[in-house]
């Protein structure tokens, strides 16, 4: 969400204004993972950023605290594909060593 806001050149204030939200609410959505926006709010934010609501929801699914209690390889899929690829290459090299 933050990335799209910045790409559009919107300040926190601007996006808040466009979506009839408070600035602190937008900041919270971008920086905290506890609050879940209402469907209506989500739609307005998606419209303002010109993305789909599904995309917004999926993009916020970054690794959470539960990651820590899970096996690394099971949660590997949570990392972005480009990160996974780099890590896999390093693991492959490591595996071949000595």
């Amino acid at each position: 969400m933050k990335r799209h806001r910045q790409e559009k050149g919107y300040s926190l204030d601007k996006l808040a204004e466009l979506t009839d939200s408070s600035k602190s609410y937008i900041w919270e959505l971008e920086n905290r993972d506890i609050r879940k926006p209402s469907g209506e709010k989500l739609t307005r934010i998606a419209q303002a950023l010109e993305v789909t609501t599904d995309y917004l929801l999926d993009d916020t699914a970054e690794p959470g605290d539960e990651v820590l209690r899970e096996a690394f390889f099971r949660k590997f899929s949570k990392l972005k594909p480009e990160d996974q690829e780099k890590i896999q290459q390093m693991i492959d090299m490591w595996g071949k060593k000595d």
């Binding site: 820590l68 890590i87 693991i91």
Partner: protein
């Protein structure tokens, strides 16, 4: 074998001190990558750390500890090499080494750490992350040396920057270390785009009921603060003495702030409160506002005031 974060850090600190002195090498900063590999090979020959490597990963990923997939029992540490701050990288390596020493038996699949975990100094929220941070803090900045460095000096951003350089840690890590041992009433406030991302009060300040519960509530940086104003870097570092009411509490506060424009408008503020909290009867005479008790002040703080 030690079982606590401090215990492990003290053990490694003793070994490092002897080793560096014997070879005539500088004691600081700690070369964590070399230490992790040498120490684990000697002490845990069946489960050594056989790889420490940096990769250009996305923002938010700090580092990870993982077992070698071939079942050899070896471990590896990957850190995010795109993080420009050498201090943050060093802290990440020490954090992962802490996981290796303290948690690998309980987490045979390894551990993956994001920047959110690593800002977590709150034991209740995530015990193992707090333990890894404590280990890293004590390993990189041993208490004896840290105390010797600050003895008799007035603490400001320049002193903290000097310490951050000495130990190759971030300004935040050095400041948090000081926060945990100081008898001053002080607070560190990390701001992001005009809001308080997180804040930490020293014990003496906490005892007077002054703290931000910024992880629970969204709180804007006070408009009158240096952090919220676009002052130049020198003004921020030198700091400003605020009248009561800018920051929490009915007291004047000296604020020093570092701006980090490269890091999405992040600010790090060091707040120094008077050594002695005002008594209520003094507050009546000195302040225009009616005195509040600690609970009211706490609630006002939570509400963003």
């Amino acid at each position: 074998m030690p079982t606590t974060p401090q215990g492990w850090a003290i053990r490694l600190t003793q070994i490092l001190s002897l080793h560096m002195a014997a070879h005539g090498l500088p004691r600081f900063p700690v070369d964590v990558a070399a230490l992790a590999q040498d120490f684990s090979r000697q002490v845990f020959p069946d489960a050594p750390i056989s790889m420490v490597g940096g990769l250009n990963l996305s923002k938010g990923v700090e580092g990870m500890l993982m077992p070698r997939p071939d079942g050899s029992g070896e471990w590896g540490i990957i850190y995010n090499g795109s993080i420009r701050s050498a201090g943050r990288r060093n802290f990440t390596l020490a954090h992962e080494l802490g996981h290796y020493l303290l948690h690998r038996q309980d987490h045979p699949g390894g551990l993956q750490c994001t920047n959110r975990n690593m800002a977590d100094w709150d034991g209740a929220r995530n015990r193992i992350e707090a333990e890894a941070n404590t280990f890293a803090s004590y390993l990189l900045m041993p208490l004896d040396d840290f105390r010797a460095q600050i003895k008799g000096r007035a603490i400001d951003i320049d002193v903290m920057t000097e310490l951050a350089d000495r130990y190759a840690v971030s300004l935040t890590a050095a400041t948090l270390k000081w926060m945990t041992i100081t008898d001053k009433r002080a607070m560190i406030v990390v701001g992001k785009e005009g809001f308080i991302d997180w804040a930490w009060s020293s014990q003496p300040l906490l005892r007077s009921g002054i703290f931000y519960a910024a992880r629970q509530t969204v709180i804007e940086l006070p408009p009158g603060s240096l952090a919220a104003r676009e002052v130049d870097g020198d003004t921020g570092r030198y700091g400003e003495r605020h009248e009561p009411g800018v920051w929490l509490g009915n007291e004047p506060v000296h604020e020093m702030t570092v701006f980090s424009p490269s890091n999405e408008m992040m600010t790090i503020s060091l707040l120094i409160y008077p050594d002695r909290a005002p008594f209520r009867w003094e507050a009546v005479e000195l302040e225009e506002e009616p005195p509040q008790d600690t609970f009211e002040r706490f609630m006002a703080g939570k509400a963003g005031g």
